[in-house]
């Protein structure tokens, strides 16, 4: 199978076959990471720019690690202290990057569609969406998929519950696409003020009560609640949120006893997740982080390195 994607903007046009092939490739990369000498020359001579308009730790670091493992030349460019803070537009920045000869740009940006916009402006370079506003975070979805798949094997017929601020969550939107393509049934839960208006068009169902929602679920995915939601008046308080929707032992007993607990990080303890759950044996939160590097290596290898 030839790899046809040059960019990853979101997962809409990835097929199930491509996702399966991708997961195998990520496994292979994970094996590489376990070797004593991790570095391989797959992207030697390629220049990759990491371009982060918003703060990010795990996504930025794991992209950078992945690039370095594959021997790419890496440039980190942040918005603050650069030409962007002097008022340069994204269009001009894009053309500047291309003139410098970037082979790929990894971008996180606060605006929905920013990655699509950048890809339209660049003629040659690959674009990887590391998060565009509230819209998409496809590499997070791929690493979530990879870590769940490693634990569960086939995902066909499995049930995943996503609890929290789906309305503002780029992670939820990309996860719904990735997991439902693999045959997972998705149920969303959380206060109606944090739900999109049209849940059906996302390909998911809504159950307001998380205790009902998690019944028979194989995966319980908690979304990060930002303090801003309280300031916006969408929830009365973070504590009320924790009582009604937080992942606690009390909630988890309604799920399957072996249900995986997932979270994109960074976690807010005692808001969307209680410490005993975050640190408990059902949690695969740190496995997700580990998958992040392998998944991003697989992605860069397939899209920039010519793949297989």
């Amino acid at each position: 199978m030839n790899w046809r994607h040059k960019c990853l903007l979101d997962l809409d046009d990835w097929t199930r076959e491509e996702l399966s092939l991708f997961l195998e490739q990520a496994n292979y990369m994970e094996e590489l990471l376990n070797r004593p000498i991790k570095k391989v020359p797959a992207l030697r001579g390629k220049m990759i720019v990491n371009f982060f308009f918003e703060p990010s730790t795990r996504t930025r670091v794991s992209f950078e690690l992945a690039e370095k493992m594959l021997s790419a030349d890496v440039v980190n460019w942040s918005a603050s202290g650069s030409s962007v803070s002097k008022g340069e537009t994204l269009r001009d920045t894009a053309w500047t990057l291309e003139s410098m000869g970037a082979d790929a740009v990894v971008m996180r940006h606060g605006a929905v569609g920013a990655a699509d916009y950048l890809a339209r402006k660049l003629r040659k370079a690959s674009v990887f969406n590391a998060g565009d506003g509230t819209h998409g975070h496809p590499t997070q979805a791929l690493l979530d998929l990879h870590s769940a798949w490693k634990k569960l094997g086939s995902l066909e017929g499995a049930k995943m519950v996503i609890v929290g601020d789906v309305l503002h969550s780029r992670v939820a939107r990309s996860d719904i696409k990735a997991f439902s393509k693999m045959g997972v049934k998705i149920v969303l839960s959380g206060p109606a003020t944090l739900m999109p208006r049209d849940i059906t068009c996302l390909g998911a169902e809504y159950e307001p009560d998380p205790k009902v929602a998690v019944k028979d679920s194989h995966m319980v995915y908690l979304l990060r609640i930002q303090q801003e939601r309280q300031r916006q008046g969408l929830i009365p308080s973070l504590d009320e949120y924790h009582v009604r929707y937080g992942a606690t032992e009390d909630l988890l007993k309604f799920a399957r006893p072996d249900a995986l607990v997932m979270h994109p990080g960074p976690i807010n303890r005692r808001v969307e997740i209680a410490s005993e759950i975050a640190d408990g044996n059902q949690s695969i939160i740190l496995d997700q982080v580990r998958s992040g590097v392998a998944v991003r290596m697989a992605l860069l290898y397939l899209c920039v390195g010519g793949g297989k």
Partner: protein, 435 residues
């Protein structure tokens, strides 16, 4: 003297049987007859085409004064003529805003010097367009304002809306309301529904439009003053207007060419191309269907462009950072007729034509109410010739407008105007040599 030969006549209300010639002398239609022979006239063959009263667009933004790099009265007027319009009403949300009589006179005098469509001014309802105190509406009416509107913003202050309605009740100049509840649309980017759910962008719910319209209807009922709602885009709002009209209230409304032809899917399919970012946002497919339904039932009083020109540097940015607005003056007529043809002609042709002519004229104060929107012997020679069979590609490079923020660039559309005339003067013929 100009003689239009062999066209079908639309008199503003009905399409007349057979074909006719139209003779234009000294800015007036002097004769309409099956066959006119006259020496020394410029003859123009319009066979197979429809001769209409000049098209009227009661809602355009020419950004003049203050933002002339986006458009100005001259370029906008020429763009309007090229799009088939002989009269346009410019919105007052300029810098400074048009909120007093000297500003009305500025628009009038600059408009009088243009080579294109007739430019009629509207004035702000509120001083400095701040939504607080009434502007000098009476002085502006006397100077020639044809609407009062804070367009771009709603009259959020209910007391101001009520006061302005009462004050203008017998003035003959209507209040035009931009219906929006700004609390519900704050930071909104797209329609609340499919587009907001798939994109994560903040949605602007249909209720935001409905609530402001319901408020306006209640005040209309209480004051007895007419109110006009512009760029109505949702089923919910249309149903409220329809029932207010059935009640006999002096409520009128218009819809835009883009809300009749595009829906929120365009935002998604285009991968957030900012050319589709507009306020009110492109709505659901059901809303588009409802606009056509109410249009066919006579609830709609005018089709507008809400021509909102932006410089490419301002609009060519990621969707979320882009300003709202679509520029469409030079293709909106084709957009509407092309959509109408593709939908299987859900409305009588005469009704659709009247929404560009007689119906919007009826919304204007005298003398325009009496003079415009009709085609008969003795009337002012504002004429638009329409060719429903003409297919053409929208070529933005040739636009007279300064703006290019148009979703139909490169698209093949059917149903174009081929000649525009203002007071007997050809302002656009589709052929440079006439102008």
């Amino acid at each position: 003297m100009i003689l239009l030969k062999g066209g079908t006549i639309f008199d503003g209300k009905n399409i007349l049987q057979g074909t006719a010639d139209v003779l234009i002398e000294e800015g007036r239609v002097s004769k309409i007859a099956p066959s006119i022979e006259k020496e020394g006239v410029t003859e123009i063959d319009v066979s197979g085409r429809i001769i209409c009263p000049g098209f009227i667009d009661i809602h355009v933004h020419f950004r003049d004064p203050g933002f002339e790099w986006r458009e100005d009265i001259q370029s906008g007027s020429r763009a309007a003529a090229a799009g088939g319009y002989s009269t346009v009403v410019v919105m007052p949300n300029t810098d400074p805003p048009v909120d007093n009589a000297p500003m009305i006179e500025y628009v009038n005098s600059k408009g009088a010097m243009t080579a294109g469509a007739r430019v009629l001014p509207s004035g702000c309802v509120s001083r400095e367009r701040k939504g607080e105190l009434m502007a000098e509406l009476g002085k502006m009416a006397k100077a020639g304002a044809v609407f009062f509107t804070d367009d771009g913003s709603p009259l959020a202050n209910t007391n101001l809306m009520r006061t302005a309605l009462l004050y203008t009740r017998d003035m003959g100049v209507k209040i035009m309301e931009h219906p929006e509840d700004s609390y519900l649309t704050a930071k909104g980017q797209v329609n609340e529904g499919l587009a907001s759910s798939l994109s994560g962008l903040k949605g602007m719910p249909a209720s935001a439009e409905y609530i402001d319209i319901a408020k306006g209807i209640a005040l209309c009922r209480e004051t007895g003053s007419p109110i006009h709602f512009t760029h109505v885009s949702t089923r919910m709002a249309m149903e409220a207007i329809s029932s207010a009209k059935n009640e006999g209230l002096p409520v009128t409304c218009d819809v835009t060419a883009h809300h009749l032809s595009l829906d929120e899917n365009h935002v998604m399919v285009s991968k957030f191309n900012s050319v589709y970012k507009v306020n009110p946002p492109l709505r659901s497919q059901d809303d588009v269907k409802a606009l056509w339904k109410h249009l066919s039932q006579g609830v709609v009083d005018a089709i507008i462009t809400d021509h909102a020109p932006w410089h490419e540097d301002e609009k060519d940015v990621p969707f979320q950072e882009s300003p709202f607005g679509i520029a469409s003056l030079e293709c909106s007529v084709a957009v509407v007729f092309d959509t109408w043809i593709k939908l299987g002609k859900p409305v009588d042709l005469s009704m659709l034509l009247s929404l560009f002519t007689r119906c919007p004229a009826q919304l204007l104060p005298d003398p325009w109410k009496k003079e415009l929107g009709r085609l008969e012997e003795g009337c002012i020679a504002d004429i638009t010739v329409l060719d429903l069979d003409e297919s053409r590609t929208v070529d933005l490079a040739k636009w007279k407008s300064k703006a290019r923020n148009c979703p139909w660039g490169g698209e093949l559309l059917s149903g174009w105007t081929t000649l525009t005339m203002v007071e007997g003067r050809i302002v656009d013929s589709g052929v440079e040599s006439y102008v």
